[in-house]
Symmetry: C2
Subunit: 191 residues, 2 copies
């Protein structure tokens, strides 16, 4: 890669997020993004198939990292394992403000929301596969992965829509408390 | 509606499902569907915007029916309320074989799978709204709706992929037992 391209990808990501936030996804063109990032349109397409892909550029490496942790986790208790792996990832490192902005852009756009749902579904499916690989029974693996990821992403969204930055761990703790209360109520239903 | 059109919609649905199952979604044209249903292509488009929409034709009325039940349910225990409303719907009336075939078509096609995920997401969101309308706290409403619908649809899929037809109620019961075991394990994690 020629030296002048160093940092292009990060600059393109930053420019895309800024423009999406300022003027919306539809109104933003690749030409504008490239211009703000100080690169050519051709450079943009060297990194991303289209403007929407910029928001999901890290999805694959995130999925790989998460699955890698499931493969190494203590899965004798699959549900806490799923929660721990998701909660244990260093989300703060990506920046609360930047994820908050990304979340707001996605929530406002049905097409992006659809894509985001698919990515979360892919995480739950990959977790199911990894848990099965670790010897967890199929039905248990699927339920732990799906419910665990729903609980985590519900907390994650709450973290990103809070007025001020708090610790993700505290939001997860509160969400799990709410979950425990809901489930305790369910036990009453069984009897 | 002229008399000769009576039953067209049902015949179109049946023809679409048959052709999708026989030769795949991509290879099936609206012209073929209309021909097998014994109607004109124009009649097809009077009912459906495109061939894929046929599979989701009942989604809106299903959503309305389910939300109606949440609005009338005892929501003092939101999680069992969500499960009960979903489990209490008469899924068998739509035919196990026909839903099984529909599920297999959707599972084999990423675009349809994406659309199906969106429909389920819409159900969980509408449930959240209905529970809030009934006075349930926002976070609790969201968690109960999301987790409850995940648990239900996991059971529903298991029901449709089983080798032989069993009662949906028994599959839900087994799934809830698995869920309880997972969650009991989670409590150990909290301590």
């Amino acid at each position: 890669m020629p030296r002048w391209e160093v940092g292009s990808e990060e600059r393109l990501k930053k420019a895309t997020m800024e423009l999406f936030a300022e003027q919306g996804v539809e109104a933003t063109s690749v030409v504008e993004i490239a211009k703000r990032a100080g690169v050519t349109t051709r450079t943009f397409f060297r990194y991303f198939p289209d403007k929407r892909d910029v928001l999901f550029a890290d999805a694959e490496s995130l999925l790989e990292a998460l699955v890698g942790r499931i493969l190494e986790a203590d899965v004798s208790r699959p549900f806490p394992a799923v929660i721990e792996v998701l909660a244990g990832f260093d989300w703060s490192a990506m920046g609360w403000q930047s994820q908050r902005r990304r979340h707001a852009i996605i929530a406002a756009n049905p097409e992006l929301h659809e894509r985001d749902l698919m990515k979360r579904d892919a995480i739950a499916s990959a977790f199911t596969g990894a848990l099965r690989q670790r010897g967890v029974e199929a039905g248990t693996a699927q339920l732990a992965s799906r419910v665990g990821s729903q609980v985590f992403f519900t907390a994650y969204e709450k973290w990103l829509t809070a007025e001020d930055e708090t610790s993700l761990a505290s939001v997860i703790e509160a969400t799990l408390e709410c979950f425990d209360a809901l489930v305790a109520i369910r036990s009453a239903y069984s009897t």
